[in-house]
């Protein structure tokens, strides 16, 4: 078996006496697409924030390529949020170029001349890949919700991060647009061999999109003190294998899940 890209060793997350996540022992290979599902407030976001670096585990460690994750966000991890991912003062092209400019010019964060031309070509290529070739010169507030998410994906992918994190990326989109976005992300994942972690509250989205599903839930509940026990990965399902989907989840997949109010 190859060396895993992400490893979690006995990871706990607690806020004072409030245990959010407990006993996470997981490893993920490069190229996997992990969907993380679970009820709201069960720690999905804490898990993602730990992968992102904005929060750190209370106990245990998360390893990326065998090294402990740094405790602040960096280039190894790309992120697409539900919204506000794009910079409103830059047009689509400049938004995608920004990542390259940051690494090329530590002092100004801006490059000129032939270097800029090169960045521009790369960025344009990336915009075409996400289907925004025609909207390169438009500002984010002139783009529809779906186009803004395409832009956010392009922006993250141009840095070629080790892992790509998606935080309910399609939660605010219309169902039709969401279907297009599913197609796009599946295509990008296959073609570029990305490793993706996606949080979603939409179970059917989680099961149809990823190659692996983690279901977060609390296996133990103390009715007197609900914060006493945290959530764990209660099901870790490889979707491409013949592993049987637990019957307790099968009924969840059949019902249409309602998107949460934003």
């Amino acid at each position: 078996m190859k060396k895993p890209i992400i490893e979690m060793k006995q990871v706990w997350k607690e806020y004072g006496a409030h245990v959010v996540l407990e006993k996470l022992n997981l490893s993920v290979q490069a190229g996997e697409f992990v969907s993380i599902v679970g009820a709201s407030g069960c720690g999905k976001t804490s898990l993602l924030n730990m992968l992102l670096g904005t929060e750190s585990p209370s106990r245990g460690a998360i390893l990326l390529d065998g090294e402990v994750l740094s405790t602040e966000p960096d280039e190894t991890r790309g992120i697409v949020f539900q919204k506000y991912s794009a910079f409103p003062h830059l047009n689509a092209l400049e938004n995608v170029m920004l990542g390259g400019e940051f690494s090329a010019s530590p002092l100004l964060g801006k490059v000129f001349g032939s270097k800029r031309q090169k960045l521009k070509e790369d960025a344009l290529e990336m915009l075409v890949a996400v289907g925004l070739g025609d909207a390169a010169l438009r500002y984010p507030n002139e783009l529809s919700g779906g186009m803004q998410q395409r832009l956010a994906i392009a922006q993250a992918l141009i840095k070629e991060p080790r892992i790509l994190l998606l935080d309910e990326p399609f939660g605010a989109l219309d169902p039709g647009i969401r279907k297009d976005m599913h197609k796009l992300i599946r295509e990008l994942w296959k073609k570029r061999g990305l490793t993706i972690f996606m949080i979603t509250h939409d179970l059917s989205e989680g099961f149809s999109l990823g190659s692996r599903v983690w279901v977060l839930d609390k296996p133990r509940i103390d009715p007197q003190e609900p914060d006493r026990f945290g959530a764990q990965i209660v099901y870790d399902i490889q979707l491409d294998s013949k592993q049987k989907i637990p019957s307790s989840l099968q009924h969840l997949m059949s019902i249409e899940t309602q998107p949460e109010a934003v």
Binding site: D74, R77, G78, I79, Y84, G109, Y139, N141
Partner: protein, 273 residues
């Protein structure tokens, strides 16, 4: 139709806009005529012809004493102080506001101090300024700076802090350091709010300018008004006041136009959600 739903047409809107101004002029003319009929040397409500003479005298004839064209000398002196004061304040507001908003270490250190300073009425420390900085230009510019820069700093700090955290995290995942995020992500986004904040504080800036000039100056719009007050020279005071209002209006309009031009992404339609 409900009153709240009825929108006037273009021509009616123009008439309605002008109406209060026209009424004001008519009322003034009637009142002025009535007073002058009773006492031709009345100074309180001068006739339009006296205004014309006064403007002619102040703006287009050299002063008998100094040979200067007083209105322009006064305007130039006041504008210099105002622009210097407002410009320096805007710079201070931008730098400290962004630093305070972005860096927790700066915020913890300076934010309470700035709040405390902003609670001091600037006019109360005007004597201190005159004592410390003398009666020259510096004290008047300082009064404007002390008066409006705390407001600008606090506003810019709030604008910086209200940038969505998603954006700042995104920038970090693109490999930016704090400095790059400051100049490429934060600064461009708080410039348009800086312009609106400056427009809003312009009124206070004028207030502090006139107050400073009234107390110690040898030229300036505020100085002139307070000087000729002794002669009840309403024929000069009122045109000066209108001239000040006009200057303030032009400045406000220029700032608005520039902001619209320079930041189309900010003034364009907001996001679709």
């Amino acid at each position: 139709m409900r009153l709240m739903n009825s929108k006037p047409s273009r021509s009616i809107r123009l008439v309605l806009t002008l109406l209060p101004f026209v009424l004001l002029v008519i009322v003034y003319t009637l009142a002025s005529d009535a007073r002058l009929l009773e006492n031709p040397s009345d100074k309180l409500l001068p006739a339009w012809s006296s205004f014309y003479d006064a403007i002619q005298r102040m703006a287009f004839e050299p002063s008998k004493r100094s040979g200067d064209y007083l209105l322009w000398v006064d305007t130039w002196a006041s504008l210099q102080r105002l622009l210097l004061g407002v410009g320096i304040s805007a710079l201070i507001g931008l730098v400290l506001g962004v630093l305070n908003g972005m860096l927790p270490i700066m915020r913890v250190t300076f934010s309470p101090l700035i709040t405390a300073i902003s609670l001091i009425p600037p006019m109360a420390i005007l004597p201190v300024l005159f004592i410390v900085f003398g009666l020259g230009e510096l004290s008047k510019v300082m009064l404007i700076i002390i008066g409006i820069s705390p407001i600008l700093i606090r506003d810019l700090q709030m604008r910086t802090q209200s940038l969505p955290s998603e954006q700042l995290i995104k920038a970090q995942t693109l490999g930016a350091n704090s400095w790059q995020i400051m100049i490429r992500v934060v600064l461009p986004q708080v410039l348009p709010p800086l312009f609106s904040a400056v427009r809003l504080t312009l009124g206070s800036a004028w207030l502090f300018l006139i107050a400073g000039e009234a107390i110690a100056a040898t030229e300036g719009l505020g100085y002139r008004i307070f000087l000729i007050r002794r002669y009840l020279a309403m024929d000069v005071i009122l045109p000066y006041v209108i001239w000040i209002a006009l200057l303030a209006f032009v400045m406000d309009a220029l700032l608005r136009l520039f902001s619209n031009r320079a930041f189309p992404w900010y003034h364009g339609k907001r996001g679709e959600e």
